[in-house]
Symmetry: C2
Subunit: 336 residues, 2 copies
């Protein structure tokens, strides 16, 4: 079976919808510890690559040269929700570089955070590039390009020297030549790389425990981890599974979302990487699936699970504010 | 296999996400002509029931007594997008009944139509009950309750006499005692009935060709069909597959959406009913699946398919306005 039944959505205890997916747990040596579904199938990791693509920001010396804050480094790794705190950091960062939002290659967008989007519309504002969930990644790439004297123009295109450098780094982490696989274009204009799901988990495991990489790249990854652990709310935003997992586990689980149902988690202490693809590309099932795997691995304490309950079995409310159902892991999937 | 692969989502020709589902085509005698996946599995039809639940509005004499317009009758059957045209009809209808939006049992909502929602927010307004996609159904039930001297209070609850009457009618259409199955609560507070997918298709086929029902119920269904065919834009809204299929086929295909990936189609001329459930509950795959089945049945001309291309293989644009992928029927699924 290419996919397994991961998550059920119930209405008054009767299953209404079902989410299928594939998932894999790897260690930093590339060993597959557990897998579900066809994990050799090509997937688009999308934004799950952001932390891995940010390594050059540190490794090139750019982050030190521009004295980037932990919040800025974290936002280079983030799919942020466009809350005011995120908007402010990206705008100030661009301004310090002598740039503005026109240099970002992503298109204009409203914040993913509904309340922030609502407030902007009510105040008569429109979507803009800074609000795009990728604006921190773009600011990070611009910072590196400036520092390395690379052209800022077309920095999002696959032939730009910084994209080539990034892809080389990704190949090392994924343990395979990614140029052999098809490529698309991402929501923000960046190359949308593909790889087997298992290679994504291996790359995330090497990010979790980079001890087999060069010393410089290892130290760069530790710097990224440190920033993300210190500034969890800049890694996604209030109420998100990414920020809350980081906060509740005190940095023991560094998750990252990717569009179309992708979710990864790096566990630095254990040197593990987890990669999940929900087949339908929707976003509501992936947190429940990840938390079920983390629980299965014994990676969460009872207290941590209590704090994360809203992500483990999210409740579904109707327009009258009644709880009418919930999202939970399928019973058949994981033992105990 | 409980579900079959119906729809693929590609990025630059590589499949990124996959939607699985079940579907069935029945005739008005209840015969199953074709099916895919497990069609005996219980599903929640959700709003796909609205046209079937509107029969009592006509059959009770309420629609004649209150001289309902075609637009109003259509909105009793509709999941509308909350465009200004929809807001106006429901508000005027309630006012003519001597009621206001406080009588609607659905909670407040913003319009499903993004532009309408945006304009409301920009103009400083909030969500309200009239904008809820079910407001026409609620107005229809209130009209029938008034006409039958039933209490208006709690008309959305399963024990209300009008809900009992509706459920009796549904049982006849579905050809089974629906009280044997579990029930939940819908987004708007109504009972959320369950039934096997095949019974939903049978019910829709009997709505398409009601010649085996009592003369009064048959005529009531013809009146509903006539209204919906005359006022397709009140059946959902601009740009929707429901309204556009109705318009392009001149009423030969009357589709109806249900939350969580449900889509039905009544084909009055052929006496057919189609019911589709996309397992993951998302809404982006169901139109493509329905149009593939209609094409497979030879129910669409080449010209009609041209007009419906945006629903057959929707294009995916990124934030820069580039077409980066598409949604299409899986090749393996339907022959030629």
């Amino acid at each position: 079976m290419s996919y397994e039944l991961f998550v059920e959505v119930t209405r008054n205890s009767t299953v209404e919808s079902r989410h299928f997916g594939a998932a894999v747990v790897c260690d930093h040596k590339g060993n597959v510890l557990e897998s579900w579904g066809d994990v050799k199938r090509l997937i688009f990791p999308r934004s799950a690559l952001k932390p891995l693509l940010a390594i050059d920001l540190v490794n090139s010396g750019a982050s030190d040269h521009y004295a980037l804050s932990d919040a800025e480094i974290t936002m280079a790794c983030a799919s942020h929700q466009g809350e005011p705190m995120h908007q402010e950091v990206v705008a100030a960062w661009l301004s310090r570089l002598g740039l503005n939002e026109d240099f970002l290659a992503c298109g204009p967008d409203l914040p993913d955070d509904i309340e922030s989007a609502r407030k902007l519309l009510v105040s008569g504002q429109q979507g803009c590039r800074v609000y795009h969930n990728c604006s921190g990644k773009h600011a990070g790439f611009l910072t590196t390009a400036l520092h390395l004297d690379m052209p800022l123009e077309d920095f999002h295109l696959v032939d730009h020297p910084l994209q080539k450098l990034s892809l080389d780094g990704l190949c090392e982490l994924a343990g395979t030549d990614l140029r052999q696989y098809p490529m698309g274009i991402d929501g923000c204009g960046f190359p949308a790389i593909t790889m087997p799901l298992v290679n994504l988990a291996q790359a995330v495991a090497r990010f979790a425990k980079p001890t087999d990489l060069s010393d410089a790249r290892m130290q760069s990854i530790y710097r990224l981890q440190q920033a993300i652990i210190r500034e969890p709310l800049y890694a996604a935003g209030h109420g998100t599974v990414v920020s809350e997992l980081n906060q509740v586990t005190k940095g023991a689980v560094l998750a990252k979302t990717g569009a179309e149902g992708v979710l990864t988690a790096a566990l630095p202490e254990q040197g593990l990487g987890i990669a999940i693809k929900i087949s339908d590309g929707g976003s509501r099932a992936r947190s429940t699936a990840l938390l079920a795997i983390l629980d299965h691995l014994g990676a969460l304490s009872g207290e941590e699970k209590n704090h994360l309950q809203a992500h483990i079995t999210p409740k579904i409310e109707n327009s009258r504010g009644l709880v009418v159902g919930e999202i939970h892991p399928a019973r058949s999937w994981l033992p105990g």
